[in-house]
Every structure is written in structure tokens, then in C-alpha cells.
Symmetry: C2
Amino acid sequence: MKIAVLPGDGIGTEIVAEAVKVLNVLDLKFEMETADVGGVAYDHHGHPLPEATLKLAKEADAVLFGAVGDWKYDKLERQFRPEQAILGLRKNLGLFANFRPAICYEQLTHASSLKPELVAGLDILIIRELTGDIYFGQPRGRRQSPDGAFQGAEEAFDTMRYARPEIERIAHVAFQAARKRGKKVTSVDKANVLETFQFWKDVVTEVGQQYPDVKLDHMYVDNAAMQLVKSPKSFDVVVTGNMFGDILSDEAAMLTGSIGMLPSASLNASNQGLYEPSHGSAPDIAGKGVANPLATILSAAMMLRFSLNQPQAADRIESAVKDVLSQGLRTADIWSEGTRKVGTREMGDAVVAAI
Amino acid sequence: MKIAVLPGDGIGTEIVAEAVKVLNVLDLKFEMETADVGGVAYDHHGHPLPEATLKLAKEADAVLFGAVGDWKYDKLERQFRPEQAILGLRKNLGLFANFRPAICYEQLTHASSLKPELVAGLDILIIRELTGDIYFGQPRGRRQSPDGAFQGAEEAFDTMRYARPEIERIAHVAFQAARKRGKKVTSVDKANVLETFQFWKDVVTEVGQQYPDVKLDHMYVDNAAMQLVKSPKSFDVVVTGNMFGDILSDEAAMLTGSIGMLPSASLNASNQGLYEPSHGSAPDIAGKGVANPLATILSAAMMLRFSLNQPQAADRIESAVKDVLSQGLRTADIWSEGTRKVGTREMGDAVVAAI
Ligand SMILES: CC(C)[C@H](C(=O)O)[C@@H](O)C(=O)O
Ligand SMILES: CC(C)[C@H](C(=O)O)[C@@H](O)C(=O)O
């Protein structure tokens, strides 16, 4: 089992170190290799996703990823900015299926912006297509406007596009995931305005016919943004495109109040995957030893389950995390009156002890 | 002062009737003419936006719009569906500036999904560009994929694009609005991924230099979707493109808990405008006399202020609405223990009485 460890920027190093520590006490044999990615890779090698890092990731069974980005890279040309590393990994490894659970941990219900009764027990799974849509669609760029009311003016443009096989495969992923859960899929589109998403809706509907045991609903993206606020528990599996998924998965994560706890997985057709916390690189608290490592530790659990075929080890990590929460340990982001505030390392150590 | 009255579908007729009633007690001289729009227009004239309706709207100083849409039109070809009417009006009248206030009414704080302390007193203004972006960008359609990994497969595509003058004019609208409020503009983009929104960010930044008294922030759309949940009151004016604005304005409206109360205005360069409630046509409660007319009545107030240059009349309506809320009158959507449930007409009558 070969794991590429890519800590990245900001708090990435600290949180990934804890996840590695947890993996190392499982009595499993991993081959782990670490490489630079993101801003630190730009600093050391002149590119956020150096050839060697990409090669390592491609050859591994799974990538354990921290986070990338820091304000100090904001002024770089787009192609050199840290986020390009994550886009490059997704594209080059074909990681089309992004799993973003939005779970409200019992002990953290109060941390949500929402009233407790709306989020208690919340458990939804957002499945975001990750290698298509307007994120990668060509052509794109700047030009003189070729037509329309502003012909001749300077303009910028991008292309949203989805081909049938891209929609089919992510739809299958969603229906199969729903079968193991609440048997309900909500496909989010904007079919009333976009050609791309009318097609999306049509294809998802077709694929749905192969899953008569799963209930399929369709919802416009603006309505989905509202219903997540109004009654998040009415969702089970949500499947949507890359752009809408970016927005809705973050909205949902924040609604839970547990964002420091939420892992994510991005898989390709052969279950090779990239695993990263849902939160970002938080440069403001980097190096202070206060970041919450649990989302990364739980991402390692997802890695064991999805890419390394070690479901029992995944279970062990997940129950250890529940244990430390029950013990009342909290990093600063999830701390509240009556619980014990701990740092990044102490939290990792507690998970190790619980295992 | 010529007003085109377009009630539309679902609850549209009922709620617009109350707004008209309110306008008629103001001792102002309006020329009002009513026409079909949306599904009902398709039923009567074979098109959701008949020529005569468009002509009427163009010749009016303002359009008072109810809502369009009903499940029974879902199977129609896109060009005949009710929503096309609203897109057609926006495009043909050049209504590029959409004002979507997200206000939490003091008496309705408890109706929000959010904890009261997060929304009490909330007052943000979302300014959405309404005639550009991927909503109208050409080319779009279905085709055989011309290139890339799925070359030859069936695909659908749309074009996101913004020209410099389109971004400049909406940016000016936002900065000018901010000057009359909290002097802060948050421009929402996805500059880390999209060429269109890197350009958007650049142009908004340039325009911002003309408004040194207004603070300008930039935020990625996924982060904005989160921050709206986490600390909605940290925003003042939000300006963004058509697609992101569609999603964020609905999210923000739902967060307030006051969605049955929220008006909207869509203006062109000569302050001709279309005014409609932020909510939809609610076919499930149509004809029952229970819909909340206040968002439409408040849209009429916005119309008086923005297009008809009658700020005092607008003030009178707005304080009358506050009065009826203080009297404890509530339609079903905003009703709670201890308040009096009233129907659509009774609510309209109460506003008239309060004026
Ligand atoms: C960093 C950025 C390119 C990325 C995205 O938009 O996909 C991030 O927001 C995410 O969701 O992983
Ligand atoms: C009906 C639809 C086309 C429209 C939009 O997407 O703009 C609506 O959602 C809105 O926000 O007014």
C-alpha cells in the first residue's frame, strides 16, 4: 500500500503529521513518501505541482493531502498559484468523483450556526463531479468580444461542458452510494437556464432507471442552496457538477458547524484517490500548533476504506475520533465551555491512544 | 407614471392584486395596464412572453411582476417554459442590475434557521448582474464533443462571458449603493479557477479606485457561501455575477427567515425597472388566499423609490408594513404562536389601513 504524502502549505504540515502518526499505529504496512505541493513547491521547485510530485502521486495507491495556499502567493500568475496543484492532481489522476460528507457530530451540534434541531444527527453526502464542467472546459481566455452588445470590448470567457460519459459515471457513483445509505439521490442542476444542466438532468434521469430502488429528485441549484439552510436533513445523497458542487459542499460543511472535522475523498475509476480535509490551509494559524487535525485523520480513514481496502482499520480510526470527542477534548476551532482545549499534537496523540 | 402589471402564475395574481390595492390608496396618479406572462401567457397566446406583453413592459416606467412557473409546464420545450419570460424581460429591457436585499425583520428573527444572535438586525444588499454571464453567453447547445477525453461523445455546453463595460457598470452600481449604506463592498468571484472571474476581479478593483471611501473586499464564491452561514452580518453590499448571484441571493434570503417578506428590483441604465418578490409562484398554495403579499407590496415600494421617483410614498408603504407586523398580523408562512394568522387579502387590507 503506497501512499503519497503531500502536506502542502499553512497548517498542512501539522495536520498531516498527525494523520501519519495515526496510520503508523495501525499495524499495517504502508510505504509512505512525502513531497512538496502548492506554495512550498513553488518556492522550492518553481512550480506548485512539480513533475516529481505528480509522478509520486500517480504511482501511489492513494494521496494523503493537507492543504495549499497562502496570501503571499496571491500575486503570482494563475498557473503558478498553489490551487493549480490541486486542479492538476485531479485532472492528471482522473479523480472525477469527489465525496464530501456533511455530518454534524453529536458533540458539536451547538457549534452550528443553525438551530440545533435542524442539524442534530445531520448526515448528508455530497458527490461532486471533479474533472469536468467549467473548471476545465476549453476554450477559455481573454479576447476582444466577437459578437453581441459589447462587440469589440475586452472580455473574458470560459466554457461549461459535460459529455454523456462524464455524467453517466458520476451518476452511477451517486446511485451506488445512495444504495448503501438512505436510498435517495438529489441531482442538482440549473436545467431552466443552462444547456449543460438540462443534459445533465436528462442523463441522470436515464441512469436512474437502472436503480429503481433509489428515489431520484431534481432540484435547481438556487433552490438547493435554500433547502440546505431550511431543512438540511431532507437530503441524503446530493450529486452535482463541479462548479455547483464547489459552492454547495462548502455551504453544507459550514452548516454542520463541524467543518474542522470533515474529510473528503476524490476517486478515479480504479479507486485510486486523493484524501484531504474539507477546510483550507488557514495560514493565519499555521505553525502555532492549534489547528484541528481530525478532518485529516478522518480523511486517512476514508483512504483506508476507499483506496486501500482496509475497512476495519478505517472503523478503528473513526471510533477513536468519536472517543476523543466524548472525552471532551477539543481544538480551539470546536472548543466550548466545559470541554478541554488541546493543541494539534495532543489531539493526534489522543486519537493514537484511543486506538 | 406608467406601470405594466404582470401577475403571472401560481400565487402571482393574488399577491399582485394586494400590491395594486396598496398603490391605489397613495393619492398618486398611475396608469396601470395588466398583461399575461409566464405559463398563463403560454396557455392564452402560445408564448410565455407574448409580443404585446413585451411591448407593454418596454413602454412602461416600471413593471410590477408577480411570479411565474407551475409544474404543469415542466414538460414543455425550454423556449416555451414560464421562466423564459423573466429571462426575456431582463434581456430585452436591459435590466442588468438586480437588487436583492436580505433583511431579517425584527419580528421574524425566530423564523430563521439560524440562531437569533446571528441574524437579528441583518441587513445586507446583494447586487447581482442580471443580463450577462453564462445565462446568456453564446455559443451554447448540444453537439458531438469536438475535442478532449470524450471526443465524439454527445455533450452539452454553455459559455460564461463578461465584457469590461458590463462589469464596470454593475461595479459602479454596487459602489454607489454602498456609499448610501455601510460603505463596504464584497465582490464575489472564482478568480482562482475562471478566466471570466479573474477579469471580473481585476475590473471591479479598477472601478473601486474611484470610490476610495468604500472598502472593497474580494471573496471566492465557495467561501462566500460559507461566510453567509457563519457570519451574515459581516457583509454590507455583495456584488457578483449572474450565476453566483442567483445562488447566493437565494441562500441569503433563506438565511434571514423572512423570505416571504423580501422584495427585489431589476434596473436598467435609465432606471426603468422590474419589481418582483424574491420568492416563487408557489403553485401548491395558489388560489387559496393564504400567500404572503408583503414581499410584493414591498417590491411596489422599491418601484416607487427607484423607478418612479416617489421616495415618500415608498416610505409610507414600508412603515405601513412594519406597522402590520407590530400589530401581530402574520400570513401562514411567517406565523408563530402568539400572533394572528391572516390571509392574503386581510394582510393587504391591513397595509392599506396602516397607510
Ligand atoms: C482551491 C480551489 C481550486 C478548489 C475548487 O474550487 O475546487 C477548492 O475550493 C475546493 O473545493 O477543493
Ligand atoms: C427562474 C430562473 C430563470 C431565475 C434565475 O435563475 O435567474 C430565478 O431563479 C431568479 O433568481 O430570478
